[in-house]
């Protein structure tokens, strides 16, 4: 099989990146027209970070966590509490007031995001410490429980002066520029890819493939599982922080188990073990859900109201599509493969060969 020159693939990648940035800039410039699309894209980019973080753990290390919503909540509340302008805090916490040390605590957005990630990572460390020594299945149960506990804590009246209880936090300043979301998301994903492609990432994959063999290769199971889990929590926390900034107001209901399932669906849809699959999955999931809004509006054809077309119907359609995709593409859209120009090139070549084979009279296709 012929492959493309390295330089060409770099050029193509750079071209694609430049095109994406141009499109985003254009959309941002004409914001009035594209506001809606832009917000979908932003949300997708934020979910992509959480999805890739989950993939790092599940697809590359073979560990299964269901704590995404909880770790995102940690990041989100950290960022919200630190970035709501001091002047507006009394009006946000108007019911029970704000705890003294927090009233003046502020941090610039980047530091708040980083801190949100670090808090999530720290909590991940403490959960992982007892749990990761046990069989892998326990992690899913422990993190699921943790996620619900976090939500209960956030809504608890005792913490009203920190989290504002069930009233949630408002007036979170948004991103200073639209592109920033994509920049931060891109950076996070890039960092995770670097980890996966390092020697440590290979050790993670060895654990996924066969724990006993990995251990006999001198790879400390607990240490490396803990590492993967903490890294995953860190980026999940950052993703949560970005979600808070994007939504501008959050409360405990934002971080229900449904959020975890969304991330899980993205990972499964994109392909467990494929980074580009997770990114693609985030955009398809988030956008798909919006495109299907059509089904939520009553539809009248020739004076007859079509049944089923009412609020909530799109979720039925959405679930059906998801089911079909997962059934048809057992391993998600990308399987464990990654997007690559060579892959596309090979695909086009195969397509070309098929054409020339089916065309009568033409002698054999070109050689490999």
């Amino acid at each position: 099989m012929k492959t493309l020159d390295k330089k060409i693939t770099y050029l193509l990648s750079a071209g694609l990146l430049a095109a994406a940035i141009m499109v985003l800039l254009y959309m941002d410039h004409n914001r009035t027209t594209y506001n809606y699309s832009l917000s979908i894209l932003q949300r997708s980019a934020i979910y992509a970070v959480a999805a890739v973080a989950m993939n790092l753990l599940t697809g590359f290390t073979g560990l299964f966590s269901l704590g995404q919503a909880g770790f995102m909540a940690i990041g989100a509340y950290t960022v919200a509490i630190l970035t709501i302008p001091v002047a507006q805090r009394p009006s946000v916490y108007y019911i029970s007031g704000i705890a003294e040390p927090l009233a003046q605590a502020t941090a610039p957005l980047w530091a708040a995001l980083l801190l949100g990630g670090l808090f999530a990572a720290l909590l991940g460390f403490f959960i992982g410490y007892p749990v990761l020594r046990l069989k892998s299945d326990y992690l899913a149960i422990a993190t699921l429980g943790f996620s619900e506990i976090i939500r209960a804590f956030i809504a608890a009246p005792m913490l009203n002066r920190v989290t504002n209880g069930s009233y949630g936090l408002k007036s979170i300043p948004g991103f200073p520029s639209t592109l920033m979301v994509f920049l931060i998301s891109g950076l996070c994903i890039f960092l995770m890819v670097l980890v996966i492609r390092s020697s440590y990432g290979r050790a993670f994959q060895a654990i996924r493939e066969d724990e006993i063999a990995a251990e006999s290769m001198g790879i400390g199971l607990f240490k490396h599982k803990q590492m993967a889990f903490v890294i995953s929590c860190f980026f999940t926390g950052i993703s949560g922080g970005m979600l808070a900034v994007f939504m501008r107001s959050i409360d405990s209901k934002t971080f229900q188990i449904g959020l975890t399932y969304d991330i899980l669906l993205i990972v499964v849809l994109g392909g467990i073990g494929s980074i580009t699959g997770s990114v693609l999955g985030s955009f398809l999931m988030t956008a798909g859900r919006e495109w299907l809004r059509f089904f939520d509006n009553p539809l009248t054809i020739a004076g007859v109201q079509v049944p089923l077309f009412r609020t909530g119907f799109r979720m039925v359609i959405f679930s059906l599509i998801l089911m079909a995709v997962v059934l048809y593409y057992r391993k998600g859209l990308m399987g464990t493969k990654e997007f690559s120009w060579n892959g596309i090139y090979a695909f086009l070549q195969r397509l070309g060969q098929k054409r020339s084979k089916t065309r009568p009279g033409k002698e054999g296709g070109n050689d490999e």
């Binding site: 060895a206 001198g218 199971l221």
Partner: protein, 280 residues
């Protein structure tokens, strides 16, 4: 004189009431090739799992190069169930995990091949180099350890060359034919830089030609890497040709040990095992 590399002291491994290994002692000297033979279910693989820290023995200890790496005594509910000798009970409890034992210099292959199936041949061997990595997560992720990474890759390539796997380096491990998968397991074990290599039925499923190649390969690896070899094997030709000494297990118990000549003429061994093996 010859120096003892591995020493098993009265190892007993009980699974519930089943004595998989029963009061088994043995030693392996530097530079030797030692074989453990015995009928199916005799406890050979279990002995390997004890040496490498996969199972904690019910009782007994293992020394490697003079250091006790494993030592256990019947604990918890095994205190009641323990059916071994009361006078053999160990006083220390030492439990090193399998990764620590590999780092100390014991590498192994598995009877039921355990490759990293969906990774390439090259990656399978490269992973074995990870345990000695100097770079931490950050320097490795940011590729600040270029030299180290380069060295790891170079050593991997060399090893694949020696084991004649270089031509399939980029193939997915599970796509290899059986014989090559076994050889890849050996390559991967050697990549950890062991002093002692444990081979669990390396010739299983190989044809006579491949078995013959394997004999040469083991000889060569032993020379090139100054290895001591302990292996489990059912192919009697291979065992008799390659081993300096042989231990024979039957129902977890040691029934004979000695040179190949000695073992071949031992009546108990012939009754328990060799007679049967030749019928097969």
């Amino acid at each position: 004189m010859s120096e003892t590399v591995l020493k098993l002291n009265r190892i007993t491994m009980q699974f519930g009431g089943l004595m998989a290994v029963n009061d088994f002692s043995m030693d392996v000297n530097r530079g030797e090739v030692v074989a453990i033979i015995g009928p199916n279910g005799a406890g050979k693989t279990t002995a390997f799992n004890v040496i490498t820290g996969v199972y904690a023995p019910t009782n007994g200890s293992v020394d490697f190069c003079g250091e006790t790496i494993i030592s256990n005594r019947p604990q918890g509910k095994m205190r009641k169930l323990y059916a071994g000798d009361a006078d053999s009970i160990c006083d220390r409890v030492v439990r090193k995990t399998p990764d620590r034992i590999t780092k100390l210099g014991i590498a192994r292959t598995f009877q039921n091949i355990r490759l990293f199936k969906s990774l390439t041949v090259f990656e399978n061997v490269l992973i074995a180099k990870h345990m000695n990595i100097k770079a931490n997560l950050f320097s490795a992720a940011f590729m600040l350890n270029r030299h180290e990474e380069h060295r790891m890759r170079q050593e991997t390539a060399q090893l694949l060359e020696i084991l004649e796997l270089a031509d399939v380096a980029d193939e997915v491990a599970s796509s290899l034919p059986y014989g090559k998968q076994r050889r890849l397991e050996i390559a991967r074990a050697i990549a950890t830089g062991p002093e002692l290599l444990l081979l669990d039925e390396p010739a299983a499923g190989m044809n006579p030609q491949e078995t013959n190649d394997l004999i040469h390969l083991i000889h060569r690896l032993k020379q090139d890497f100054q290895l001591t070899v302990l292996m489990i094997e059912h192919h009697m030709n291979l065992v008799m040709e390659i081993s300096d000494r042989i231990y024979v297990l039957d129902f977890g118990r040691l029934i004979a040990s000695g040179t190949p000549d000695h073992i071949q003429n031992d009546k108990r061994v012939i009754d328990a095992y060799l007679g049967v093996a030749e019928d097969e």
